[in-house]
């Protein structure tokens, strides 16, 4: 049976993980490869590495990091951040990434999704969407949630699917960092309307939140950062818990 996926997300700046961790058994908690390998050993199903470096030099550092990740980690990983054009995608896939996630660049230039799908296949293209609930509905935002756009979540998600995205990574900005659970109503609507997998992001604070997003939110995968980095929810414990509820999980 196809398993629901648990995906830790690592923010990277200048080749180092940004958020602190309290893993005492790591030689170097700032090394994304070390941390990624630890998560892989703990049973993470995939990893996401988000480059939040702005500079050109930093981008080169990130590409070198992607090569090290590919050489050392034996589960699939997605990279995102700083992808503006097909050339960036090509560079990261050549370095060994399995998938790329595109966010702001795809909203500004939706054809980027078509180009990625056409050149490398839908399976490598993750459309990441940051949205916030407004009086008029769920509105998409750019640049990590600072700039509102004229696109609404559901119509943009449909368009991304039609253009060839292989997955949707939906982050609710209302839920992100609050640790009160995922945006399950919006997730369920996305999952029920679209025919590609949906990754839930933003809001994980307890094991029950993962249960809810899989059962009520119909999510195919759940992504989280701080609850894993700070050891608040150990992945093996989370997976045992979900498995005990008969949710299909890889143990």
């Amino acid at each position: 049976m196809l398993a629901k996926r648990i995906i830790p997300c690592l923010d990277i700046r200048d080749g180092r993980t940004v958020k602190g961790t309290n893993f005492v058994n790591l030689r170097d908690a700032g090394d994304p490869v070390e941390l990624g390998r630890l998560y892989s050993e703990q049973g993470a199903d995939e990893l996401v590495f988000l480059d939040i470096t702005a500079s050109f030099e930093g981008r080169k550092t990130f590409t070198e990091l992607v090569e090290r990740i590919a050489a050392n980690i034996s589960i699939p990983f997605t990279v995102g951040g700083g992808i503006h054009e097909l050339k960036d995608v090509e560079r990261l896939l050549s370095a060994g990434a399995d998938k790329v996630s595109v966010n702001s660049a795809a909203i500004k230039n939706p054809d980027l999704i078509n180009q990625i799908a056409l050149n490398f296949g839908s399976q490598v293209c993750v459309a990441a969407i940051d949205a916030k609930q407004m009086p008029e509905g769920w509105r998409c935002f750019l640049n990590g949630g600072r700039v509102p756009t004229d696109r609404m979540l559901f119509e943009w998600a449909h368009e991304a699917e039609d253009r060839g995205a292989g997955e949707i990574l939906f982050t609710s900005m209302d839920h992100d960092g609050v640790k009160q659970g995922f945006a399950n109503d919006a997730l369920r609507k996305l999952s029920d309307e679209l025919t590609i997998p949906i990754i839930a992001s933003g809001g994980a604070g307890a094991k029950e939140h993962f249960r809810d997003t899989f059962i009520e939110g119909h999510a195919d995968a759940a992504l989280a950062a701080s609850v894993f980095h700070f050891g608040e929810i150990p992945i093996p414990e989370l997976k045992q818990y979900l498995c005990g509820l008969n949710i299909p999980i890889r143990i």
């Binding site: 049976m1 050489a71 050392n72 034996s74 699939p76 296949g121 890889r250």
Partner: protein
């Protein structure tokens, strides 16, 4: 793929050169791409004939497995025909049947060949929209929408629909078994 093989202590050579392919101890035929354009590429470089004639153990992965079959519905492509079985497109039966089949799924294996030592269902990583039906050469099967082939074996030819190089320790066991044949 190269990372996974390097971790297992072998030095892979990436090549489409006939001499190098014939001299290799083992040949891995991986692939992410589209069936008809890849077959055109193989024919243009004479690789279709070379791959079929190889005598050492050959492992096709993902699209590699599909291209070892007779025909693919992807781009209506005639393939290598090592396994006389067609490659079909998934037909979702209900909304939850999302295509591509993406993620970790369990396989049941014959327990020999590249699955030596496997006695219970194991999770491996899949990403694909086309599948090989269960047939006489099926060495591992899985189920998504319907039961289908996760791995094929005939003589010196081995193939997997899933990605052993992305399947954690289970995938490493499979690759190691292949290297040990």
């Amino acid at each position: 793929m190269i990372g996974a093989l390097t971790r297992l202590g072998v030095t892979p050579l990436l090549t489409d050169n006939e001499e190098e392919l014939r001299r290799a101890d083992k040949v891995i035929f991986p692939g992410v791409g589209e069936a008809s354009t890849t077959m055109e590429y193989l024919r243009a470089h004479g690789l279709d004939r070379i791959i079929k004639d190889l005598k050492q153990p050959v492992l096709g992965i993902c699209l590699g497995q599909q291209l070892m079959c007779s025909h693919s519905e992807e781009g209506d492509a005639d393939c290598l025909g090592i396994f006389d079985v067609p490659v079909l497109k998934f037909q979702p039966q209900k909304h939850q049947d999302k295509v591509p089949h993406m993620g970790w799924n369990t396989i049941e294996t014959t327990g020999d060949g590249i699955f030596k030592g496997f006695s219970k269902p194991e999770f491996v990583y899949f990403v694909h929209s086309f599948y090989v039906p269960v047939c006489q050469w099926t060495a591992a099967r899985t189920e998504y929408i319907l039961p289908f082939t996760a791995s094929l074996h005939k003589d010196n030819f081995y193939a997997t629909q899933f990605h052993p190089e992305k399947s954690g320790p289970t995938g490493e066991r499979i690759l190691k078994n292949f290297l040990d044949i």
